[in-house]
Symmetry: C2
Subunit: 428 residues, 2 copies
Amino acid sequence: MAKRTPIDPGSGQQVLELTLGPLAECWGRENGHLSIDGQPLSARVPQTPAYLYSRRCLDAAAAALRTALPESIGIHYAIKANPFPPLVRHMAGLVDGFDCASLAEMQLAGEVANAEHNISIAGPAKSRAEHRHAIEHGITINAESVGELERIMIESRAMSRRARVALRVNPPFALKGSGMHMGGGARPFGIDSEAIPALLEQRETLAEGGIDLVGLHLFAGSQSLDAEAIAGTLDAWIELLREWQTTTGYTPDELIIGPGLGVAYHPGDRPLDFDVLAPAFTRLGKALATLGDGGDTTIDTRLELGRFLVAGAGVYLTRVIDRKVSRGTTYLVCDGGMHHHLALSGNLGAVLRRNWPLIAIDRLDDEAIETVDLAGPLCTPLDVLGKNQSLPPLSPGDWVGVLQSGAYGASASPGGFLSRDAANEFLV
Amino acid sequence: MAKRTPIDPGSGQQVLELTLGPLAECWGRENGHLSIDGQPLSARVPQTPAYLYSRRCLDAAAAALRTALPESIGIHYAIKANPFPPLVRHMAGLVDGFDCASLAEMQLAGEVANAEHNISIAGPAKSRAEHRHAIEHGITINAESVGELERIMIESRAMSRRARVALRVNPPFALKGSGMHMGGGARPFGIDSEAIPALLEQRETLAEGGIDLVGLHLFAGSQSLDAEAIAGTLDAWIELLREWQTTTGYTPDELIIGPGLGVAYHPGDRPLDFDVLAPAFTRLGKALATLGDGGDTTIDTRLELGRFLVAGAGVYLTRVIDRKVSRGTTYLVCDGGMHHHLALSGNLGAVLRRNWPLIAIDRLDDEAIETVDLAGPLCTPLDVLGKNQSLPPLSPGDWVGVLQSGAYGASASPGGFLSRDAANEFLV
């Protein structure tokens, strides 16, 4: 049928390289198989559907970022991107701290962190239990409103312990090209930037209330593939910090900045250009040094990243159960689906669903000569793995891998939908 | 701000009545409180966030449907709509059978069903374990492809047991006005209607292969609020059955028909008009009697319903944690969110998010004089409970109830997202 033109043809090799860029190197590719330590994934994983995360790829993503960053800027892992405990434990060896979004994430961070790691928690509706846990363990609370500052003071007083607090800023701008706007305009997150100076002026009052104002939490958006926009946003933050320093005399001791580094998910997406990002990070480091009294004060700065660190290290693996033709469309019905991988089905923040990088993991070199729709096992038309997707011809029993599945996968999906089994996860 | 015009103003009372229609009567409403047995829900439920399901409302929905149906047509409950075991157990007393979508659902149905109940399973990628369980327990398998018929024969032979099989039909039409098209055009579900006659001709070959062809599974779409369209689809099915009877001499022993009855979720939605549906059901009963050799053969017919039977009986309950104003927008940040109620956030099949019937459950009579945005506790802009929503003024600690939350709620949501607690569920 004429309308069914392939959107992103090419072999699995090509899809892998287009999607992951230099990080594609971390995946073994032997005799046409996606592999780890010379062994095909399809031989390595005991069952489908399953998520497989590669230690080597986690290492590679962190190393790529370190190379681009000045030494003065550290890295935090945002656990919400992938809270699989063995993966988080592995991340502990790669990063300088953890950002949490719940009590359970703080507990997990506490289990895997070493003495050098910083831990913080963000979230617009933190519970009393979350505040108390953070205060008790010296975890930085990113305060999202004046109301929250008051609640923190109440707990601090009740516990007779001081709270480490950073003000989460809702900036006057959004990160351009970002999949998720977290700033600019009205938001439930953070404190409007125009209200920040008045709070900074009151830092002694806060201190009397048990709050140690350790710094600021800066986050304007996520999942951007526009390196220039990310660089521009970092510059805009610096400008804001300078302005506040001038008007209020405040220099933060600590900064956590979410730069919003994205990954390539869809046809036409290309991995972030680190040739643009690296100089922007250098500029950021220098500006922060200047801001810190020309080197006398060091502003302990960490980039907070989730998706960028883990997405490329994960593959969702599923097998074809049925191959059928309905009115001119060839369907591969698979054992994996939206109950494990909601984002793949287009039901996690996408207005219109776009295809993902799907590859036949045992036929990396075969040309994608067939155009098919891929459906999951659920009794709902929402359970879509791919539409009009280019693949080598596949039959029941063949394996399909969904690249870029290491972030917001299993934990962000309705695992119990239709009372099917939760996803299996493996770190290798 | 001028752009923030209320979409659906009115007291909680009015929202309840507009949304549920006559079924609103099943909810107690005393002194401005949504209540059960005279007790406010906010006093009845030990904690938020939580789902509460009302037995009385489950009874009322089933009774409304029975009243509209001729006695010759039974009712099946599709467990996928809400698999909470106490609720499914309660449904056993109200329906004539269960439709399942997984091994776990078949096991649950087996636990709660009585000897009179029929059980069936549908799904485009059934596993071997599912086929074997169905064959062993005499569960009707809705076969979705010729490939599946072959796999059923293999298991039947291996087990030396006959399989009860219905052919799931992908019709040449879709249910108009339905939120989810399950038929018409190319689909991963069922067997294209034009391929059905050839299979009916081969029913002796199927029988030799261990398959007892017990009937047909007819499903053209779901979540329709257009009673005329539903009536028209039922007529179209009858026409198709007549045609197949003429061309192949086949009269099904059993029919399962998914009529696609919808519920009112969004501003402007109105509950289904049973004054149109009831005569359509009567017409269906008569046509089936005629089809069954003028009464000599009875076609055992059941309507399969999920959402319609349970949606109105459920309320998702959440409390306000923070009230904040950001750049002119008032936010109520709540303890419940998309990790429990994905559909409410607009991330379960909706292209554009629309508001849900949210009410202040302790101020049913108060006028909705405030326009607010409601956000959940998750660190993502996707966690939306309501935008530009009309409510009485609410403060931290106040309760909000989301009506129509009995179907595709907890089980269809990413309960582990951000490692937060799963939803509490109560049947009262």
